[in-house]
Symmetry: C2
Subunit: 468 residues, 2 copies
């Protein structure tokens, strides 16, 4: 018998060795040429669950990339033993612009407390702390199986919009039944400010393509007399916002749940330094929707973002053409009560109204989108999470925060009908989705401790207690 | 002794063999990695001039890509023997989007009357007809040197905006002195509608870059709270025109010389079919500045064109980032009395007014730009050109046309102070600057005939006659 902290400290190198092996697999779900890598990534994770002791481990195929499911019941389970489902994802983001990486994104490198690689923080590092956490839980309790019925559902398409996740939940609804969901794909405010996310934004992602003349034309012989799809796509993307940063898609704000005065005050109390935020973002200025603070813009307001734009000549110098094609990649973050399908329809109407004569267009959505999700902070599950974080970080969970990012959490919540909490240890400067993604190792070790404590906390509350 | 047509017909294969060899050299002046190819292209052309019999052939270096100069004086020259300078260019446009080429752009392929390769029409094919034309001129007149003092100046940077051409003209002003300039880099209305260009638009070309955050950011964690350079560049490009196609750069139209009623009527008489133009452009609709016909838009009105736009994620599917960088490549065609420097200043002001807080920007111009140029149709030089075209095409020059494209002709006209005529045999469907550029072989052979006749016509007029 040992305590959680000692066990985690003594077994840090296990976590690092696993992380090093897994991060070398470039499982980029958005790029079809990486399909085999995503499959290898799932395979690796399944074997890691087996090594840890999970008696049931399965790879669940989907119409897209495979998910990994693992189950470890409490051998002494009673009717009041809670079943907990941990959600995360094993796929990673693309790596371009590759030239901005200072190290190979798939060759993990450790520099002091920082481990750099694509997926280090989002989400491989955060999943692997759970394996160490489960072992620490057993070691500290002297048990041979967890004190709760533990289930893990680790999907393989989160970074490409979870297009088949809803179907996966429906297909396996009996296996996935549980009393609480722990989402492990988020972060905290700072290393010394433990916090927990209580809401995530929804997301719809589209590629809009405009096609003009069937070939690139000489701009002297044809320019000014035929429609230019690059100009048209620029006019479209440029029309998304007004001068005050409001999104101009008609109906975009119709369903948005406004922040209550109390919520505004809670957000205002979050220790948030604009200077730190600017330093982390490496931006020269703040921007956004007029009338809202930066934290409100990030967590509580919907946005429209141009993720990529292209068309025509991309090389050095000039090339005097009217391009044949142009595209823009758009994403929209949604907040409470906005529905992805309604926003998709509104965006389609907005685009269609801006296609000039002589231009043909297409809109391709990444799946059905992701609904927004809001968590109550007065639930027993949130209380258990807070105590587990306190035990690991030796500090109170300062404040609940709203996460600006998006995941399939709303789908989980709706499909399973149970409370959901967020245990995530990413930091704002982890540069997830960007070049030089990193994770801070001490946060992973704290995460392992918090997970170990969390199973004890859930067991102590019991199924009946979790229902509140 | 033979006649021009017989000689040209008997020696077609010489022209085709030369063209095949030269077109294999990818002399793309806008791409620094092709510097050695542009140099090889100049070397090849110099040797071709020597083979043809030109006694003086030189390669003229510039601060950029080299030009080729060749000279063949009339051995029996008198004070009244005219000196004629032919202008063209040996460099070619880039070839992307390479995937749209049906054949290798640098492996010339002949299909019936069509020869396909980058540079086939613009401008290598049109230069090589002059070598055959010079030989036909000698054969038909029984001379061993031309009836005029022939000079050729073939630059190597026309496709990248002729950034060092002005300097080249100044440096070699004595060698280049002449009584008329023949520009061979334009086209005719149709194969059976011989025509001659009487004006070319000017051109300024810029790359505008916007830089936002120093790295690509997660759009969930940062989107909506920092400035997005892709959105900003789209807003800039989208603000170039109003709904009626007018350019919104303040001052853009200030110096434009309006078309006279007579000029409008001349343009209206040009046999121009909108259906043919749409078929050639492979566009689904006409577009452009309200209040002007398509031919007026192409020849007599200035334009602003987006030649390329880029920034952020360019791959398959979605990537939810706020990009760090974005750019737009812009070109502006200028008409009579507009000055490149004034337009550059106006565009810089327009851009600077649209750079949001937190975005840094740069504007890079391709050289000093090209001034517009207008040719008088009542000059003796234009009369000589018309008769030479009639002799070659067995048809009257139907009408003078205004070319929408741009070249360094205005610089030539200003530096040399002599009349300028355009002998060009490109066709509207040559797809110059685009994938699958082609030239129609019969047009090249007619061009060779016209050139052979033109030297006789100039000699018949004499120096004094050319002054009018």
């Amino acid at each position: 018998m040992t305590d959680v902290r000692t066990f985690v400290t003594d077994h840090r190198t296990d976590l690092l060795a696993d992380l090093d092996a897994w991060l070398r697999i470039p499982g980029i779900s958005a790029q079809p040429e990486h399909r085999a890598d995503v499959e290898r990534s799932a395979q690796w994770l399944a074997e890691a669950f087996q090594r840890t002791g999970f008696p049931t481990v399965e790879i669940w195929p989907t119409a897209g990339m495979p998910a990994v499911y693992a189950e470890w019941p409490a051998s002494d389970a009673s009717d009041d033993t809670p079943t907990v489902l941990v959600y995360g994802h094993h796929d990673v983001q693309p790596v371009d612009p590759i030239e901005l990486w200072r190290t190979d994104p798939f060759l993990p490198t450790i520099d002091g407390q920082v481990l750099r690689a694509r997926g280090a923080s989002d989400d491989k590092g955060q999943l692997l702390f759970h394996l160490l956490g489960a072992r620490a839980h057993l070691a500290a309790t002297g048990r041979t199986s967890p004190a709760v019925n533990l289930k893990f559902l680790i999907e393989g398409e989160e970074e490409s919009g979870s297009p088949h996740f809803q179907r996966l939940l429906e297909e396996h609804s009996a296996r996935l039944s549980c009393d609480a969901v722990v989402v492990t794909d988020t972060g905290m405010i700072a290393e010394d400010v433990p916090s927990a996310v209580t809401g995530m934004r929804g997301l719809v992602v589209a590629t809009v393509k405009f096609h003009g003349p069937d070939l690139d034309l000489h701009s002297g012989s044809f320019g000014g007399a035929v429609p230019n799809p690059a100009t048209a796509i620029a006019r479209l993307a440029g029309a998304l916002h007004d001068e005050q940063g409001h999104v101009l898609v008609p109906g975009f704000y119709d369903d948005v749940r406004a922040l209550s005065h109390e919520e505004q005050q809670l957000i205002a109390r979050v220790p948030f330094g604009e200077a730190d935020f600017l330093a982390t973002s490496q931006s020269r200025a703040l921007a956004g929707e007029a009338g809202y603070s930066t934290l409100e813009r990030l967590g509580a307001r919907p946005t429209a973002e141009v993720n990529g734009i292209g068309g025509g000549y991309q090389g050095e110098g000039g090339k005097t053409i009217v391009p044949s094609d142009a595209f823009v990649k758009l994403s929209f973050r949604l907040v409470a009560d906005q529905r992805p399908a309604a926003i998709q329809r509104a965006v389609e109407d907005f685009v269609e109204a801006r296609v000039p004569a002589g231009i043909t267009h297409s809109i391709e959505w990444e799946g059905d989108g992701v609904a927004p999700c809001v968590v109550g902070i007065d639930t027993p599950a949130f209380g258990a999470l807070s105590r587990a974080i306190l035990a690991a970080f030796d500090a109170e969970v300062v404040l609940p925060t709203r996460e600006g990012g998006s995941g399939p959490e709303a789908a989980l919540e709706q499909a399973l009908g149970v409370p959901l909490v967020f245990l995530g240890v990413g930091l704002p400067d982890d540069q997830i989705h960007a070049p030089n993604e990193k994770v801070t190792l001490s946060m992973l070790f704290k995460g392992a401790e918090a997970a170990a404590h969390l199973w004890q906390e859930f067991a102590a509350i019991g199924r009946a207690g979790l229902k509140g």
